[in-house]
């Protein structure tokens, strides 16, 4: 079967096409999809390219950011208003990958990849999903839980989130290969404080499950504390409980669980 490449300038038309054709897949940067075709995945025969301008746009209004799903990591890394996300975008592969890898693609990347989604998880992000019938919004945590059960033809067109106070936002990605190797694990944290007490805590973990996940137990343990070393220790000591990291070429399940508390402690102590 020969390959074909279809372009659409309208999300709903693209969505309908994708819903009808089981061999058609939406193309982002190509790092996942074209790779699979190169490696002999014969279930993919049609590339679908969505050309709507909004896909590549970044809108900032008050403190709400809307990122088109086609915005690349390279673009994010050099956008001043997204400076707090630049280190994360820069850690996603080398320059060639970053020039191609998209926000949308990263949301579907398999663990241990998908670090950009880890950061978004602590920012109350909402995913805009275009289906054959129209547009829906889904909070990112629910998206990750159900991303493999989305209706055929669903297209993620944008992500919306609140820009945090830079001093409240922290992120670390632990890699063996430096720089820019895939994650052993990654952690995002958004900690708001009122008079020294943690008034709101959001913690997200990457490579500790089959998608980025929120660490609700950890958040509850940190809330109302003043982040003393004792508070942090009490919170992180059981952080690995309930996590389900994989064993892969980067690290074993055992190792990921063993080092998670260490890196959490360091991140929360900065």
């Amino acid at each position: 079967m020969t390959l074909s490449y279809q372009t659409f300038s309208e999300p709903q038309a693209a969505s309908r096409f994708l819903a009808e054709r089981r061999d058609a897949w939406l193309l982002g940067g190509g790092t996942i999809l074209v790779r699979r075709v190169n490696e002999g995945d014969i279930s993919i025969s049609t590339y679908v390219r969505l050309l709507t301008p909004e896909l590549k746009q970044i809108h900032v209004a008050d403190n709400t950011v809307r990122l088109g799903a086609g915005v690349t990591m390279a673009t994010i890394a050099k956008t001043p208003v997204l400076a707090f996300l630049a280190p994360i975008a820069r850690s996603i592969g080398g320059p060639g990958v970053r020039s191609a890898a998209t926000v949308g693609g990263n949301l579907f990347a398999r663990s241990p990849h998908g670090d950009f989604g880890v950061a978004l998880l602590v920012l109350d992000a909402v995913v805009c999903i275009e289906g054959p019938e129209g547009c829906n919004e889904l909070d990112l945590e629910t998206f990750f839980k159900s991303r493999r059960q989305l209706a055929r033809g669903s297209i993620v067109t944008a992500v919306r989130f609140r820009r945090p106070m830079p001093e409240n936002f922290r992120f670390v990605k632990i890699s063996r290969v430096k720089p820019n190797g895939a994650a052993v694990l990654s952690i995002a944290a958004l900690l708001s404080r009122t008079e020294g007490h943690v008034s709101a805590a959001r913690i997200a973990l990457g490579a500790m499950a089959n998608t980025p996940v929120r660490a609700h137990n950890l958040e509850a343990a940190l809330k109302e504390t003043t982040l003393t070393p004792r508070d942090i220790e009490r919170a992180v000591v059981s952080a690995a409980a309930g996590t389900t990291p994989s064993s892969d070429a980067i690290a074993s399940e055992w190792y990921r669980k063993a080092v998670l508390p260490v890196h959490l402690r360091r991140l929360l102590s900065t």
Partner: protein
């Protein structure tokens, strides 16, 4: 099988070809226009041997569709030097013994060119980042990093501890 037209500039020259739909830029360069400098090391976008520049940005040709490159400006190693004289980066790799088997060399050159075109005086960390998508199995990277730094005019060796280690290797 229907073919589709694509048109772009490769190393300063206008190219127009009819291609099979879904063709990668790498296959286009190697099979269609006979530019064999970009290599197929993994076809996964992980080794960097297919690195070329598209509109000045480093890109992995093996996972880029040529249909997405219409009207683009493509640069490969073939365009680095037109005659007997080498591009400074090529000369630097030669002078620093920064190639052994040579398979990663074209990708390294284009990744380095992308860096220096936008940042003529990078420090060592920036050079490492620029080459972080290119795998070399022969040299251990150090000669390549020094070669790129030598073109940038920066100190080949950075802070004191690095300089001691670095000078010891000479």
């Amino acid at each position: 099988m229907t073919k589709v037209p694509v048109q772009m500039t490769v190393n300063g020259e206008e190219r127009a070809e009819f291609v099979d739909s879904g063709m990668t830029l790498l296959k286009f360069l190697r099979d269609k226009i006979g530019d064999l400098t970009a290599k197929a090391g993994c076809l996964q976008g992980t080794c960097g041997t297919c690195t070329v520049l598209i509109d000045g940005e480093p890109r992995l040709a093996c996972v880029t569709l040529v249909e997405d490159c219409r009207s683009g400006t493509i640069e490969t190693v073939s365009g680095l030097s037109e005659d007997a004289e080498l591009h400074p980066l090529q000369q630097a790799l030669l002078d620093h013994f920064a190639a052994q088997c040579g398979f990663c060399t074209p990708g390294m050159l284009m990744a380095a060119k992308a860096l220096l075109d936008s940042n003529p005086h990078p420090d060592r960390a920036e050079v490492e980042d620029a080459l972080s998508g290119n795998i070399c199995r022969c040299t251990g990277y150090e000669p390549i990093i020094r070669a790129v730094l030598s073109v940038s005019g920066s100190n080949a060796c950075g802070d004191t501890a690095e300089r001691e280690r670095c000078d010891g290797n000479k």
